[in-house]
């Protein structure tokens, strides 16, 4: 085996015998104390052409093999030295090399990188609701190597969708949304398998629709009748089958809401969130009636939706890899178009939750 400094890792000599390794993909730094200037010389020349014994010879390290072995294995474990030997042989390496080398930031061995990549490749993602958010998520995940999709939406493409829903063209008006998306993601890779479900989500139809099929992640972007209700339906189903799910969010005019990632029985579930939201939103026990606004047309704006999709896409990759912990568990975010800032609100898993509480079960 040869040792290679990863292309995406930069080395900076911080002085005082400290070397900084900067992983440019994820912008993480690892600093190590080095005893000898020789070490900097060795690591900045790890071009993948030398084996262990050749490094020993080249730098006259006879008698210090053990220290060298410790150093190299440390750098490998920290994914500073390449762990891509096993994935490079794969047929799909060339096409997806950017994804693979990104995942490598989290791989402490060749085996782990291969495993994460295979997990993503073979996974099945279900997206419910093909609109301004769901479409981008489908496209992003297909571009990142996911090869099985279940796409659920009953609608056909309408001219009013085109200002914000990616993948729909003027020629697609009148066609089924799921069919258009399926065709689009097959442009990226014709071997992507798509199961189309041309139905609206209802309270109880997920069971019948999914059946025995294996699903690794469900992303809810359905907003009929509204996001809160569909999230409850999807959440309940996923808890039963222990399927990780992401509450797609949606948005409230100037605010994009980034929904939570739920890992069943590990993080706060949809019901846990709802219980805590009820507390936060209650208006001091007064009788409150919302006045109905006539002919309300809620506006919508494409990039405020796609920014949600981008974050869901990143969370999805973490979940599907099975080795990168998702960040949006136990919290949900709000992106504000006025300030262009992102804020999170924290939630807890409730021990008394009807769906996932351990005191109840």
């Amino acid at each position: 085996m040869n040792y290679k400094l990863r292309s995406s890792v930069s080395i900076v000599d911080s002085g005082g015998n400290v070397l900084e390794f900067f992983k440019t993909n994820t912008r993480k730094s690892i600093k190590i104390h080095v005893k000898s200037p020789m070490i900097k010389n060795i690591v900045t020349h790890l071009d993948g052409n030398l084996s262990f014994n050749e490094i020993v010879q080249c730098y006259n390290l006879q008698g210090e093999e053990q220290q060298l072995a410790i150093l190299l294995s440390y750098l490998k474990e920290k994914s500073i030295i390449s762990n891509d030997a096993l994935v490079k042989d794969r047929e799909d390496y060339f096409k997806y090399r950017r994804i693979i080398h990104f995942l490598e930031d989290y791989a402490h061995s060749d085996e782990l990188l291969l495993e994460m990549w295979k997990n993503i490749r073979k996974s099945t993602v279900m997206i419910i609701g093909l609109g301004a958010v769901g479409n981008w998520v489908a496209l992003n995940l297909a571009q990142s190597g996911v090869s099985n999709f279940i796409l659920m939406d009953k609608d056909i493409v309408d001219i009013t969708n085109l200002h914000r829903q990616i993948a729909f063209t003027a020629a697609d008006i009148g066609k089924s949304k799921s069919t258009v998306i399926a065709r689009y993601i097959n442009h990226f890779d014709p071997s992507i398998h798509v199961l189309e479900i041309k139905q609206d989500l209802t309270e109880n139809n997920l069971c019948a629709v999914v059946g025995e099929k294996n699903v690794d992640l469900i992303i809810n972007c359905a907003d009929k009748p509204n996001v809160d209700i569909t999230s409850r339906w999807v959440g309940k189903y996923c808890m039963k089958r222990r399927i990780p799910h992401i509450v797609g969010g949606g948005y409230n005019l100037h605010l994009s809401l980034i929904g939570q990632t739920v890992i069943p029985f590990e993080s706060a579930c949809v019901n846990c969130f709802e219980e805590q939201l009820k507390e936060k939103n209650s208006l001091d026990g007064l009788t409150v009636k919302r006045l109905d606004t006539k002919n309300r047309k809620i506006g919508s704006f494409g990039p405020m939706c796609s920014i949600i999709a981008s974050m869901i896409g990143m969370e999805a990759i973490k979940v599907l890899s099975s080795h990168i912990p998702p960040d949006n568990v136990n919290r949900r975010g709000e992106f504000d178009i006025n300030t262009m800032n992102l804020k999170y609100q924290e939630f807890n898993r409730l021990s008394t939750c009807e769906w996932c509480g351990y005191e109840k079960n």
Partner: protein, 371 residues
């Protein structure tokens, strides 16, 4: 008060009736709550404002059901609603064609929440339709931005990129098609955005961005320019772009989403108002003065750099929002512009940078400029 005008409740306002004695208006845009003590009658007036009937009709409907009230009292109440920002004037004439209105209806509605009337929102949409946006570099982020701005209604594009579509672009470019491998990127992209909206006009160029490149034709046509070219590296192209755009006061955006900055936001540059690419260079020289990477042993490093489509989408979406806010005048971007930030995959948070205008900037510093 003009009794022929039509008003509607702002879509961004939720109105609650509390204990039958006062209403709470919740303004989603500003997160403000306003309380008003109300009579039964005024609740009824609010309930019949429908965005279809003019004030005269609303007054008549009200009187028919609740008995006649004075026109003066009615008009005072209406003015109060208007002043508090609960209602907005509906436009009764249009400046857009019916097909434009149909396609962009919901976006115009969105814009109207930032503006004083629906007509102003239509005008904002018109500004997008009249814009000529030049995009330098049609890769992951440049390609996304072209598509997103095309969907939002930008009428004319100048797409500039010398490269051809490669197979590995599949994981990066949203407009990728297997059968386009080997074709010029700008041609594939132009075809794609025209398929979204056949009314879009495109001009294409295969020019490289280098110090002696002649940009005069492009600068003459463009009303806005986006730099998404990261070869040889973004700092280099950004400086070239600002050097060309600042003196002629052409607003531009330096896009994010390149190696080592996979989900950075990029920044809007309004010449002589926001920090330009030169000011950013000064800033980085200062904050990164100790940061000198060693020579890297791998040749052709770019073949092994990481990246995710979702991260490019973050950068392009962020840029798209800032650009549209600027072009459409949704906010006063001279004060509301957002400096560059890095979005971190790890932790999903924005890390804000704090550049400032450099009074000695080689590009935008020196003598006072008339703004």
């Amino acid at each position: 008060m003009d009794w022929g005008k039509i008003y509607k409740i702002k879509d961004s306002v939720d109105i609650y009736l509390v204990d039958e004695t006062y209403i709470v208006a919740y303004f989603m845009n500003t997160r403000q709550k306003k309380k008003f003590r109300v009579s039964n009658g005024s609740v009824h007036i609010i309930e019949i404002i429908d965005g279809i009937n003019n004030i005269e009709n609303i007054y008549n409907t009200y009187c028919l059901k609740n008995g006649t009230i004075s026109r003066k009292g009615f008009s005072t109440f209406f003015n109060c609603l208007l002043k508090s920002g609960l209602i907005i004037e509906k436009s009764q004439k249009h400046i857009l064609s019916s097909s434009e209105l149909k396609r962009f209806n919901r976006q115009i509605n969105y814009f109207s929440e930032f503006l004083s009337s629906e007509l102003a929102a239509e005008k904002a949409q018109k500004k997008l339709l009249n814009s000529v946006v030049a995009i330098w570099g049609c890769g992951a982020v440049g390609g996304n931005l072209a598509v997103q701005l095309a969907m939002a209604g930008v009428g004319t594009f100048i797409l500039i990129d010398p490269d051809v579509v490669e197979e590995s672009d599949c994981s990066r470019h949203v407009y990728f098609k297997q059968e386009s491998v080997g074709d010029k990127k700008v041609e594939s992209l132009a075809d794609y955005i025209k398929s979204i909206n056949p009314a879009i006009k495109t001009y294409i160029s295969y020019q490289w961005l280098h110090p002696n490149a002649d940009l005069s034709e492009i600068l003459k046509k463009a009303t806005f320019l986006i730099d998404a070219a990261d070869e040889p590296y973004l700092g280099y192209t950004a400086n070239l772009i600002s050097q060309n755009c600042v003196p002629i006061k052409l607003p531009h955006y330096i896009a994010g989403g390149f190696d080592a900055h996979l989900a950075s936001t990029g920044e809007l540059i309004i010449p002589y108002i926001t920090p330009c690419a030169g000011c950013y260079s000064t800033y980085f020289e200062r904050v990164l003065s100790d940061w000198k990477p060693e020579h890297h042993p791998i040749k052709n490093r770019e073949k092994e750099m990481g990246g995710l489509a979702a991260m490019s989408l973050f950068s392009s979406s962020f840029a798209c929002i800032e650009i549209i806010k600027y072009i459409c005048g949704l906010k006063d971007m001279k004060v509301a512009y957002k400096p560059r930030a890095e979005f971190l995959f790890n932790g999903m948070k924005l890390f804000n940078l704090t550049p400032s205008k450099d009074p000695n900037c080689k590009i935008c510093g020196g003598a006072d400029h008339e703004l």
